[in-house]
């Protein structure tokens, strides 16, 4: 070629932005890409739609025709006359039993119900940073209030426990300024024990002071029991898990050793054996005559169990942080607790959210395992008192669907919250 094209080029006007072509955006694009991208996918799409429709058509009449007002399965069958239909009456008739168990005093149902409503108010400021921070005061009071509402007895009991914790905290803070962490921790524990001991005289002297009718732990049941175990164990096992994870990373061999042995032991044992231990074996270790509450024993075991898992999840988060973060914190002169609290844990916990939520959801569902040690949680109620009553023998679908619905609502809610939280905490690529 004789005349070489001139390769010099200068742009004087920037190209203005323009929208993408219609075929490449919106619903049309989505359907084409995801449902009918080739003939295999098109067949699969059509088959799936066919089966979904089939299932809906088959199950809707059964649900819709359901009977709500009979008092036994036999009456249900008489009303339905052989047509397809669910016997929802069992839910209506045993509603309270499934929520509160069969021994909780009927006239006190308002107490756990109120505790549940207050629970929502209590966790709101913990879950949502934007809510006013002084709502956290109520969150701090709530555990003691809920205990009093559900278990009853004199208000003095939870008040004294709260006072003992405050005393322990104050002792810890005062002593830590003068000496080290370890002595401070010991004196904190000593203060707690002292106040509890002195307080026990007060409660035994005034058992009727602002008292509600006491309800024994063995009378708790239904979904309430699942919720109690779930919330208490999750909220206890996260801090314990953090401590275990930090302990496992510690340079101090004894602390590290204890944490490693504990975590590996707990992870190597099925939860159900731990529950049997809580139920039967644990009482051999206490002096004769002491009777540690069964729910308390179960709470301890489930908490230890999930704390071990959460510790490993958090250890993963700690390991994922670049070493530079530790070094930057060190180089600024932050000491170990400050570096952990301000720099390392906020980031490690953020990475660990999906794992922690996974454990929390698993834990909540695992609370149904207590039905094997003859506690009547929701599943225990269905398997035991309801299925074996003469009126409702032979009814399964309706009851278990109800249980599935309750657990699904809670677990799906937790999962959605965690995804929202992950989005909130993302600080890159705005």
């Amino acid at each position: 070629m004789s005349d070489t094209p001139n390769i010099g080029f200068v742009r004087h006007e920037p190209i203005p932005p323009s929208p993408p072509p219609v075929q490449q955006a919106g619903v049309v694009k989505w359907v084409r890409e995801n449902l009918f991208s080739n003939w295999v996918n098109s067949i699969l799409t059509i088959l799936s739609i066919y089966f979904v429709v089939k299932i809906i058509l088959a199950s809707t009449p059964w649900m819709w025709n359901g009977v709500w007002t009979t008092s036994s399965l036999r009456e249900c069958r008489e009303v339905l006359q052989g047509t397809s239909g669910a016997c929802w009456s069992v839910l209506a008739e045993r509603w309270n039993q499934m929520l509160f168990g069969f021994q909780y005093p009927v006239e006190a149902y308002w107490r756990p119900t109120l505790a549940f409503v207050l629970l929502l108010i209590c966790i709101a400021p913990i879950l949502f940073q934007k809510l006013p921070r002084n709502m956290l005061i109520f969150s701090a009071i709530y555990p003691f209030l809920a205990f009093w509402l559900i278990w009853g007895g004199t208000l003095l009991t939870p008040v004294i426990v709260a006072l003992s914790l405050i005393a322990g905290y104050l002792a810890f803070v005062k002593v830590e300024r003068l000496t080290g962490f370890a002595t401070a921790l010991l004196s904190g524990v000593a203060a707690v024990v002292l106040v509890l001991y002195l307080g026990s005289f007060v409660t035994s002297a005034l058992p009727e002071f602002i008292a509600l009718e006491p309800v024994a732990s063995r009378d708790m049941g239904g979904f309430m029991l699942n919720l109690i175990l779930g919330t208490v164990c999750v909220s206890l096992s996260i801090p314990l898990g953090i401590v275990l994870a930090l302990g496992r990373q510690s340079n101090m061999p004894i602390i590290k050793g204890i944490c490693v042995v504990f975590i590996e032991f707990i992870r190597g044992v099925p939860l159900i054996t731990l529950l049997f231990v809580a139920n039967v074996v644990l009482s051999y270790f206490f002096p004769p005559g002491t009777n540690l509450d069964l729910i308390l024993r179960v709470i301890i075991m489930i908490t230890l169990f999930s704390a071990a898992y959460i510790a490993e999840v958090i250890r993963g988060g700690l390991a994922a942080l670049p070493r530079g973060q530790y070094e930057a914190a060190d180089s600024l002169g932050l000491d170990y607790p400050q570096a952990m609290r301000l720099i390392i844990l906020p980031q490690a916990l953020k990475i660990s959210i999906p794992g922690i939520v996974n454990v929390a959801v698993g834990l909540f569902k695992d609370t149904t395992l207590v039905s094997v040690i003859s506690m009547f949680d929701l599943v225990g109620m269905i398997r035991g008192p309801i299925s074996s009553s003469t009126a409702w023998t032979g009814i399964y679908w309706e009851l278990y669907l109800f249980a599935i619905l309750l657990f699904f609502v809670v677990c799906y809610g937790i999962s959605q919250y965690s995804q929202w939280l992950e989005r909130q905490l993302r600080t890159d690529h705005h």
Partner: protein, 254 residues
């Protein structure tokens, strides 16, 4: 000699005597002897793996030394945690990869240590932070997160973050090695300004122009030892050791 290179006092800021360090059985630093005067600016260079980063990381105890002594501002570095924290709060450090805290805003990055270590009231700490952010020329980014800033901006924030602790000594560990060419200059300008204010600086870098302009002394390290040290003019124009000559020919050759 530029103006910055003039102000050096006789006071000793850092004194390193016969310092040795091993990684396991690997002898990384061998018989290091180094005195740094207050106000002095030292550039440390050398091939990778020569122990130059390890040396300055020993000065604020990010790495432990096994033999010999390091005295910083009159405080002897030992395994005593109190001494280590004291030295760290007096010595600022900038890293190759900035190491800003990604979950905190730029302003929070700068106020965190003054508030928690120096116990300065939040408002006062914020004023100081804004002052230093102004100095590194990015006050308008104060409310953003580190992930939203360019590398050069992040490194300048890292410098400001160290300065907020009002350190008497600054350590720089290859501050421009992870940056695009366009951003190296803005970081170097900040460091030159700092040098002109009379800060005691130890800087591991391959920016030889910076060394010529700012340093009082250039130290060349190889295989964990100080091979040669001299004033920059003398060091670049008339290197004595063969190892230094080879190194200089390789980095200045292209």
């Amino acid at each position: 000699m530029s103006e910055a290179q003039m102000k050096v006092s006789d006071e000793i800021a850092i004194s390193i005597e016969n310092m040795n360090k091993w990684y396991g059985t690997f002898h990384v630093l061998r018989d290091i002897n180094l005195d740094v005067q207050r106000g002095e600016r030292i550039v440390i260079c050398g091939p990778s793996g020569s122990g130059k980063s390890t040396l300055i990381r020993c000065i604020n105890a990010l790495e432990e030394h096994q033999k010999g002594s390091i005295t910083v501002d009159g405080t002897l570095l030992s395994s005593d945690v109190k001494n280590i924290d004291k030295v760290r709060s007096e010595v600022g450090m900038c890293f190759q990869h900035f190491n800003l805290f990604p979950h905190l805003t730029i302003l929070e990055n700068c106020t965190l240590a003054p508030i928690w270590v120096r116990k300065i009231p939040k408002k006062e700490a914020e004023e100081t932070a804004m002052h230093f952010l102004q100095k590194v020329k990015i006050p308008e980014q104060a409310d953003k997160y580190p992930g939203q800033l360019s590398g050069g901006q992040q490194q300048r924030v890292a410098i400001a973050r160290s300065l907020c602790m009002k350190p008497r000594i600054m350590l720089f560990d290859e501050p421009t090695s992870a940056l695009d060419p366009e951003m190296i200059k803005e970081v170097l300008d900040t460091m030159i300004e700092l040098a002109e204010d009379g800060m005691t600086m130890l800087c591991v870098t391959h920016e030889m122009g910076f060394a010529r302009q700012v340093a009082n002394r250039v130290i060349f390290m190889d295989a964990g030892q100080i091979v040669e040290q001299n004033e920059p003019e003398e060091f670049f124009n008339n290197p004595q050791s063969d190892r230094t000559k080879l190194f200089l020919s390789q980095i200045l050759g292209h």
